[in-house]
Symmetry: C2
Subunit: 402 residues, 2 copies
């Protein structure tokens, strides 16, 4: 007879709970459902033919190496290719020795927690916060503290006051985590002035900044805003990004850029976590960038998502009742809807599901308090028709609730 093994669990494993959101997302698989809830790239953005060409080249040139174990740091040519791209396009200095290839950006987040957070250690972020980061830092028993906001502005004075108070209590945060460009979930981009101020705060209070930039290359409108890492003259910023939005998430490839000593700890941690990142996929990704395919393909991703963004803006304008506001993102994959206080998006959810449309409730992204009058909408995945029909159904549900 099977015995149960619960009593053997580590403390951190006891705290691990299924993300409520992922449970909700299961509802979105019902037939007829239009899901604006997920965070998936559109398969039409996958460069299928290019991937095939890249794979053919790997078979021609490197297949024995691509099928073998690799170094924990990652494929050297890929690290060099990435370093070069970051110098040219992202505007900060680095070389291959500053780059670690990870099993998706999620692993970069997890390694960040593993390297910096002892149980009870504090990290800060500006809510709403990306769910995957909350999960990664939670697993190593890190504790979240919010950087306050006033409306949609970051309250930098409030942040200083809070940091003074925390230091008075002997609680020194280790780092500030932020997705400054086309944030998930809010779709927002932090203006340059705020980036500078955040970096100033990190200097004043001696904090690391973890800059997560999965969407930066998916800009289809407006002007490029420099990475925080590009403003960083102290090597205080650890930068991470991913191939999931510019190539394909199925390859699970991300990367971290950090100063060498710090990166060394990431590498050692990764060695015990999974030895090395999928080598075959690294060869494919290296062909993809170094072979010039990415630069040729990325415009088509931008064009596709711009069109979908426009479809969603138009639908929101056409159908949403008065009192609902939203950002119009210049890139990335998400809209953030703010509703009047009278509408609780968690209660609204059931009604929306009845009407066969799904979204993610805003409070999922607030680890320390509730925010029930917001929601995240994804525009990258659904067909244009479904975006329009989904927004129409959602608007009806909201109107009924109001």
């Amino acid at each position: 007879m099977a015995i149960e093994l619960d009593r053997f669990l580590a403390e951190r494993a006891r705290h691990l709970k299924a993300s409520e959101i992922r449970e909700l997302l299961k509802l979105t698989e019902r037939p007829g459902m239009i899901s604006l809830a997920g965070g998936l790239p559109n398969p039409a953005a996958f460069p299928v033919e290019i991937v095939k060409e890249c794979i053919d080249k790997v078979f021609e040139k490197d297949i024995d190496k691509a099928l073998q174990y690799g170094t924990t740091e990652g494929l050297t040519p890929l690290r060099a290719t990435l370093a070069e791209r970051m110098c040219e396009k992202y505007g900060f200095e680095c070389d291959q020795n500053n780059v670690l290839v990870t099993s998706g950006a999620q692993q970069a987040l997890f390694l960040t927690g593993l390297v910096f957070l002892d149980p009870g250690d504090v990290y800060m972020s500006i809510p709403p916060v990306y769910l995957g980061a909350i999960q990664a830092f939670h697993t190593v028993e890190g504790r979240f503290e919010a950087i306050p906001r006033i409306g949609m502005e970051v309250d930098l004075d409030g942040a200083r006051k809070k940091l003074d108070r925390m230091k008075g209590e002997g609680r020194y945060p280790k780092f500030i985590y932020t997705v400054p460009t086309f944030q998930n979930p809010s779709g927002e981009t932090m203006p340059l002035s705020e980036r500078k101020e955040l970096l100033d705060i990190a200097k004043e209070y001696d904090l690391i900044i973890i800059e997560d930039d999965p969407y930066g290359e998916i800009r289809f409108d407006g002007d490029h805003v420099p990475c925080i890492k590009a403003l960083d003259d102290e090597d205080r910023v650890i930068f991470m990004s991913t191939f999931s939005k510019i190539l394909a998430p199925g390859f699970r490839l991300g990367w971290v850029v950090a100063q060498r000593d710090t990166l060394r700890k990431y590498i050692l941690a990764k060695q015990s976590v999974d030895l090395c990142t999928n080598v075959f996929s690294q060869f494919v990704a290296n062909e993809y960038i170094a072979g010039g395919y990415l630069d040729r393909h990325i415009t088509s991703i931008q064009v596709l998502y711009k069109k979908k963004r426009d479809v969603m803006v138009k639908a929101l304008e056409d159908f949403m009742p008065e009192g609902i506001t939203w950002n119009s993102p210049e890139g990335g994959m998400f809209f953030w809807l703010r509703l009047p206080e009278c509408v609780n998006t968690r209660e609204l959810f059931d009604k929306a599901i009845e009407k066969n449309v799904a979204y993610v409730v805003g409070d999922a992204f607030y680890p320390d308090n509730d925010n029930f009058c917001s929601m995240r909408l994804n525009y990258s995945y659904a067909t244009d028709e479904n975006i329009r029909e989904g927004i129409k159904r959602l608007a009806e549900a909201i109107a009924e609730e109001m």
Copy 2:
């Protein structure tokens, strides 16, 4: 100017040190060096043409899914395929709901530590112990205790006495970790009677058994010995294996089998570690098994390794001085050499390197005490000529040292 970030490190990250072995292995990259040190499969064992066929099928049938995010649990058909194979070939009952696909077996080990070991928690194993497991459990600050041996036999009475003593001190180990078949590094296979006794001990002292079986399918001699999991009537054994030796390590694919409640914790932990395993590779691996390719290919791996094992046995017999003993493995990838006490294999190492041959010093696999008169030799990777020449050089170095 760059500031240094060391002061931000978590306690566990301070303890992370570069594996000395991996540093030594760098020496093996010198030109002219014959390395019997690594643990790499032979590229001739990689089913390159088959992989190409499997990839073509994935492009024909599933490419949009293969490039997209997948579920944390792993690709459902692959989980089902693996469950079926384990019922048929490994001899224990399970279904897809007991299977989690991991980013290599290393991740299965790390997740085991994450799920079960609080800092200071004890795990046990029979030294010599696989390095990757030591690293994984060390990263979450687990503490090792040896199951004692008398010579090459497991000292099961000694194990009971030690467990009594530990319990008296209030230190309850969480699990016993073991690679019972063609162990890395010793090449040994635990006899059935010992497997039964180990399981009895786990029952008596209420411990989990972590059974790691990367080499089980690479048997080319002798009779199959059942997995410990196949003897387990209490669901007390957590089983893990890998595609690295039967397909290719570059795909970084492994799996864990556990009872559903326990597996759920692994899945939740994995969600925060890397979201999901490389989806493209999972589709390829599924074609590989479900399409019948593995069964057709595996014999050729066995034939290749048997030949190499024979080459190494012959060379050892031809060249080694009196007083050196070794096992003759019936599968897997390793020989374990025992030398007289007068030879310190760590001191011998420099002399061997001078002669352009490399091995792994035995004491690397003994976390809690030193064992300087043993070494691990790999026979899967080098060419037949290099195996013979390498053993010749090594024998010379040993003879000089004696």
